[in-house]
Symmetry: C2
Subunit: 498 residues, 2 copies
């Protein structure tokens, strides 16, 4: 029991009821779009792809029309007029403002430029030819800088774009956070033994992987009756509708972590989304407030829980039963050591939990400089390589393993920091949670995730996007966003004392 | 080469271009609806079903709004003004008229009544309790009779409803067609040996069925790169988008025909739909003109081709390889005899090719009487049983195996005759086709479906819905719709001479 009440529990005013009704229409159209997108990446026949873009475009147009209608503006105002502090009006007002402040012409231009950039990027990466990509990156950057002016900002253009993904967070705040990660993490890297992942590269039959992934998602707390798991190239989680949350993963017969940890990661996102439905939130607020908060859950399940020795004490025999040939002779300690192997590397998506945030620090530094006009696209490759030397002591041998590795800049600047914010939030929440329910490890050792789920339901999921990431941290920890709990956690896991 | 040209080959007027552009928007929204519907029956997580109805409802509302907009009316008029005989304007005018002539209030009432009736029907059938269903059937019938008045008709209300599915066809025309089937078919039934399907009830491993069904669909001519096959309860074919046509089937380990012939049937529908995309038809006309025409293709592939000895001469060894245990000791003649076993039965969906049309004749007679006010809902059970005695010489022991067996009347009157029209059209087209390319059997024996595909491309698929079913028959055969070719075909297959 708690003293606070959520929007869904209050007596609902007719003005709020009307706003919710309209929102349900938006959400239903968004369901159609989400399903078309999910299907595109999992089931769509090869020849059907050409037409899917048009279908998505038309429905996106329908959604945009309704998300920017004067009618919606009036519904929001009506709530504001009777209840100035109404949470649902506040979050809908923000969405409405973000949807309406870019002219349609600019949105169309941007969409086209991003599509072209994506195509050019694929070819440029394939051929390791930055010059192919550069003019497209310049165009997307130029349009993004225009977007920043249209959205508006107080200090620097980058803040306007980052705010789309993480409300109210500024580059000036992020800078010292990232700076504080560099030396402690590099010190920990020095302490790591040579990485050995030989047990994870054996043969893992695909049918057994599919079956085990369904099990592990359910063990983590993902409701398989309100979701499903399908195969794709790049794993993702998509909330298609109420009680319909879909995870995807990829299966590699000679690399178990590809499916195992992507499913646990996406299940973390899914557990968050399923919470809104399970707890009956109105659709106005049934979402995470930003990507950092969403990532906090995926990272927590993947790393804090999914790579802990305590969790595998009970679960590892099940994994061995699923893969008797590959893992029958691998003991628990070896398995846990291998899934936590850490070392310096060049590719973000293959990076381990320890070094991952330094890859993000590099991208934050570079995209901030580009957005603010302090770094020219033509200078990006050299700046990228210099940043890798500075942060990780490594220099990429080519652009394919350097500044051409990620797709993000074909369509968005300001997204990257949310990955690290997710790790930071997760560590802060876990410390706060443990202070109330006791050590995660003790619960995991007994296979009891219930108290963990209950704490997150109560403190986070039931509030939807009523608070920003920062507000959640402040409510829960009583203090500001801080990287200290993350550093403590990493030190506990990767430090000499571990 | 042919002397006629389709709409897509003519120089396209700007007015037509504008109409096509608008239609593409409608088609894209319909794609979203089609995918939501396909997903609902194949992939949707159990708990997601409650929300799917709302998503479909909202998108259906968006579609209805755009399909009835004054803007569309003006676009059609603009084409009519410059080209009074324009085919695209004609078919779009008809769609527009049908969409706009029912008031929204009536549509909503009907949708709600049909949903209630569906629920009541499921329970009534389960419990074999007609009284549970009767008031709902009465309500749907009453609203359907109102629809008939709103659509308008010349002779009897039933014609208005049947016209939705089969443009321009009347009950007065259908009556003698059905009447002419009764005695010849009953005579053929008398000639059948006792049915033996023992080989088809052996064990057919599901994984092999899935694999073989993908093969047989492709052998028939269904492009698996522009479509897919999934599992469902009631098989269907859904055209989700351009080059994206989806078949569904059900797999029973102890009854091979459940998957085998439903896949061939649905592939027939799919081959028709894929033709529109392959031949590049504008979306205004890229559809069958009615359900009878669509059914002509599914029935032709299922029965004329898929149950012919000639087809299996080449293909049966492949089927035996797929199911060596079940079919290794079953010779070709036994297999062909078993897949063509025919006898009187009570359940339409389990009926064989020979007796199927009599089940339809019964339903036509009863739904026509109900729609025209000549049969009261309370008298339906007795009327049903009497009709089965009259047409098939059998009396259902209960309503579950009688008038409660089909779902159609929970939402539609006037649909049933299209099944038999499909069989009639198929037989007429096959005779016309054989007159030009030679006997189907000779082609099938050589595994050459190309000439058959080519003839249907040229004579039917490339015209989309430019002609009605009746017009297609007249163009192709030079004569009227006639059941004689169907009776000749059935006599050739099931008669003493066969």
């Amino acid at each position: 029991m708690t003293a606070t009440t959520t929007a869904s529990e209050q007596a609902v005013r007719p003005e709020v009821q009307a706003l919710r009704g309209y929102t349900e229409q938006l959400v239903a159209i968004r369901s159609g779009l989400a399903l078309l997108g999910w299907d595109q990446k999992t089931k769509l026949p090869r020849k059907g792809h050409a037409d899917r873009g048009r279908q998505l475009g038309v429905l996106a147009g329908v959604l945009h029309e309704r998300a920017t209608s004067p009618e919606l503006g009036k519904l929001i105002s009506a709530v504001e007029d009777v209840d100035a502090d109404n949470v649902e009006a506040r979050v809908m007002r923000r969405s409405y403002r973000l949807s309406t402040c870019l002219p349609a012409k600019h949105v169309v231009e941007f969409t086209q430029a991003a599509a072209n950039a994506n195509q050019a990027w694929e070819e440029a990466r394939e051929r390791d030819d930055f010059d192919l990509f550069a003019p497209h990156l310049e165009r997307v950057l130029e349009l993004s800088r225009t977007s920043a002016e249209l959205y508006g900002y107080e200090t620097e253009p980058y803040d306007a774009l980052h705010d789309l993904y993480e409300e109210g967070m500024t580059a000036a705040e992020l800078e010292p956070i990232f700076a504080g990660l560099r030396d402690p993490i590099n010190e920990l890297i020095e302490q790591q033994p040579e990485a050995d992942v030989s047990a994870l590269t054996r043969t893992f039959p695909l049918a057994s992987q599919v079956e085990y992934c369904e099990r592990i998602a359910a063990v983590m707390g993902f409701d398989m009756e309100a979701g499903r798991i399908d195969e794709t190239v790049h794993p993702f989680c998509s909330g298609v509708g109420m009680h319909d949350t879909r995870l995807t993963t990829r299966y590699q017969s000679d690399w178990l972590p590809a499916s195992l940890f992507s499913v646990i990661h996406e299940a973390g996102h899914g557990i968050y989304d399923q919470g809104f439905d399970r707890l009956g939130l109105p659709r106005t607020i049934a979402d995470a407030p930003g990507l950092g908060m969403h990532e906090s859950q995926s990272r927590m399940y993947e790393n804090v829980i999914g790579r802990s020795r305590a969790f595998w004490e009970l679960e590892y025999p099940e994994l061995q039963r699923a893969f008797p040939t590959a893992l029958g002779d691998v003991d628990l300690d070896s398995f846990v050591r291998q899934i936590n192997a850490a070392q310096r590397s060049l590719i973000r998506v293959e990076a381990d939990e320890l070094t991952y945030n330094l890859h993000i620090a590099i991208r934050f530094e570079l995209e901030r400089a580009m957005t603010n006009g302090d770094l020219q696209v033509r200078d990006l490759p050299e700046a990228w390589n210099a940043a890798y030397e500075k942060w990780l002591g490594l220099r990429p041998p080519n652009n394919r393993d350097g500044c051409l590795q990620d797709v993000h800049w074909t369509s968005s600047f300001g997204y990257f920091p949310t990955y690290t914010l997710g790790n930071i939030y997760a560590a802060q929440f876990v410390e706060a949670c443990e202070a109330q329910i006791g050590s995660f490890d003790d619960h995991l050792r007994r296979g009891e995730l219930g108290p963990i789920h209950g704490w997150f339901d109560e403190n986070i999921y039931r509030h939807g996007r009523s608070f920003t990431g920062r507000e959640f941290v402040e409510r829960i920890t009583g203090g500001p966003i801080s990287p200290e709990p993350l550093l403590r956690y990493l030190d506990g896991k990767f430090g000499r004392s571990a």
